[in-house]
Symmetry: C2
Subunit: 385 residues, 2 copies
């Protein structure tokens, strides 16, 4: 297996972008990444685009070749990959595989979603398609509902408190307040979270991410070719991609996502590192409780200790395990197909030492992307050379 | 690069399947393929599912892990790939890449689409998302419209006659009449095609494929591992995957699909064969005119000679270049996400010598899958060992 480096990154602002279509968003992020990498179009050998549900939201399928063509790429294989909210973690993974296996030297990966131009009922219905249409979703479950159940169970099983969960939102909104690309750039207080509108008991409005438009991209390059383009490549030392049950009723434990555990195991093993070696992590906080579950499933703390960890500040920017310095999905926004690569974008900036909320001397970073209620997950571990 | 073999195949009946959901369809095809390969679940290391537009048609996303979980697979990476009507050609391609690169020994690939449970307007709108929503499709173009324009241009530019194009439907409906898995199993006459309802001048009803439900699957295995499972592996000797413009207005020549030309070039080069070496081909006849364009773009005949070739019987079952012995999309049906793997299914059966419409002594076969009006194409070349 050849070494794989990230040599360029790009990310649009996340939020409501009137008059900017999904192809435009993706092209903008890709162009920024290619410029950052100083890679000309003709050197790109393959393109992967992560997108969840553009067919239902903006009537646009066939998105990968469409974006590539507008970007000026020609003839190369272009593939859209879909894994609900983990779509662009999967896109990045495929770039890693193609380069690591020696099939390509340079691969462009991106993720995009355009959500704010649709009616809110259309968005809710489209997002619900990440669950099982034939069972739970048919009966009216949506993702806020599913994570409300997961949150209740986490509180019951592990003694997690309402305040601990709310602290995730407070922490991430604080970090996001200094991120110029974040959808929400205003801190919130614990009282504001606890007093926000009830969505699905015990989940409240500020436990949820906003509905956003956005795109992100990364250029992957064989490590032995990277120096031709940059003197600060970031190495991909671990990649994991795994499945789990796609429904609540099939989960053995409602507070653990098997896909995350499996993907993390693969990534840690490949990287030869353990959770204690990670200096900074972007994890999939699609709801506040999801960050707590991820903190545990990724091995940063024991199962059941995630709530205490966030309230005690262990996962704060200045803590020993800084999590979501970008503001996470809760503050940055969650254009679902873009999220996985926006996490990579942040981790690369952290490891380059150029992040807005820089973790001091960060050398190894982790990005964790989750689809649905754990049907799929990717985990990537990156390292400063 | 390691040798790659197909060691198992499966395919559902194509057509209207009341009460059978998309997950059921995909599981059925996968189970048949795994049984055919005698591969137990725990040996499968990755799963790729081609599907175009299940989010819009049956409100089901996250389809790859959902299908894999129901099939009894656990933990492995599962990915849905989308490239409009070429989705499962792309799925098969990814199985080939993972095995060829040595990353996996055994990969399951499948394609599925459930179309008949939706209103016809929903289906038309969903299919139109394979075009550019921001330009042509917004103005009311649909795929029958696009291929009507392409047909008109082919007739104008190359002197192709209405009868020549109709002959594609007559030929394929004859072949499909003996395929027990085909949607249409009744031959039609030239007069019936020419007298059928006008859809988009000059395109008529019998120039179009039916709207179908269906799924198909193939198990890929490293050639050096294949003999553990079967004594009749079929080798994948060439794989091509390329993009082209996704709109009519960006095409340099309305009668040529650049994606097909590029993908075919890659596949022929990798296989070390030329069009004249192909004994049997399944090509993407999403409309009758598309088969004629493909016959030319794949190099079986010169550009402009495709119409004459079919009318003269050159591409008939008993001709020198038998094309679509399965009945093709026009007769077998076109559950879009399943089509690419259904082509592989037929070619493997031809090379095993067990096809319904067997081409005598077929040794090398080709499968050609096309997305939209040429945004993407895959070409695979298979060989009897």
């Amino acid at each position: 297996m050849r070494g794989v480096s990230v040599i360029g990154i790009g990310c649009t602002r996340f939020g409501k972008q009137n008059g900017v279509g999904i192809i435009d968003l993706a092209v903008q992020a890709c162009r920024e990444a290619l410029d950052d990498a100083r890679v000309p179009n003709e050197r790109v050998q393959a393109f992967y685009l992560g997108n969840f549900v553009s067919e239902a939201l903006v009537h646009q399928g066939s998105l990968a070749p469409m974006v590539a063509y507008r970007l000026g790429l020609r003839a190369i294989p272009c593939t859209k990959v879909e894994g609900a909210c983990a779509s662009s973690g999967i896109a990045f993974r495929h770039g890693v595989l193609l380069v690591a296996s020696g099939l390509c030297d340079i691969v462009l990966t991106a993720g995009a979603e355009k959500m704010t131009s649709s009616e809110i009922t259309t968005v809710t219905e489209a997002l619900a398609s990440a669950g099982d249409a034939e069972t739970e979703m048919r009966l009216g479950l949506t993702f806020p509902g599913a994570f409300g159940i997961i949150m209740r169970r986490h509180m019951h099983q592990h003694g997690t408190t309402r305040e601990q969960v709310a602290m995730v939102s407070v922490k991430n909104r604080l970090s996001g307040s200094t991120n110029p690309k974040a959808h929400f750039q205003k801190p919130i207080t614990m009282d504001e979270v606890l007093g926000s509108r009830l969505i699905c008991d015990p989940l409240r409005l500020y436990d949820c991410p906003p509905i956003s438009d956005g795109a992100a991209a990364a250029v992957l390059c064989a490590a032995d070719v990277a120096e031709e383009f940059t003197n600060r490549p970031i190495e991909v030392i671990g990649s994991g991609h795994a499945m789990g049950p796609g429904t609540l009723f099939e989960m053995a434990d409602l507070t653990t996502f098997e896909a995350t555990v499996s993907a993390a195991r693969e990534a840690y093993r490949m990287a030869g590192v353990s959770p204690g070696d990670i200096d900074v992590a972007e994890v999939h906080d699609c709801f506040s409780i999801a960050e707590i579950a991820a903190t545990e499933d990724l091995g940063f703390v024991e199962k059941g200790r995630g709530g205490g960890a966030v309230l005690e500040g262990l996962t704060a920017l200045a803590g020993p395990i800084p999590i979501n310095p970008s503001g996470g999905l809760l503050s940055k926004g969650h254009p679902v197909g873009a999220t996985g690569l926006a996490q990579i974008y942040e981790i690369v900036r952290q490891l380059r030492g150029e992040a807005m909320n820089q973790v001091e001397d960060a050398e190894i970073g982790l990005a964790h992307n989750l689809g649905g209620t754990g049907a799929v997950s990717t985990v990537h571990i990156l390292k400063r050379r």
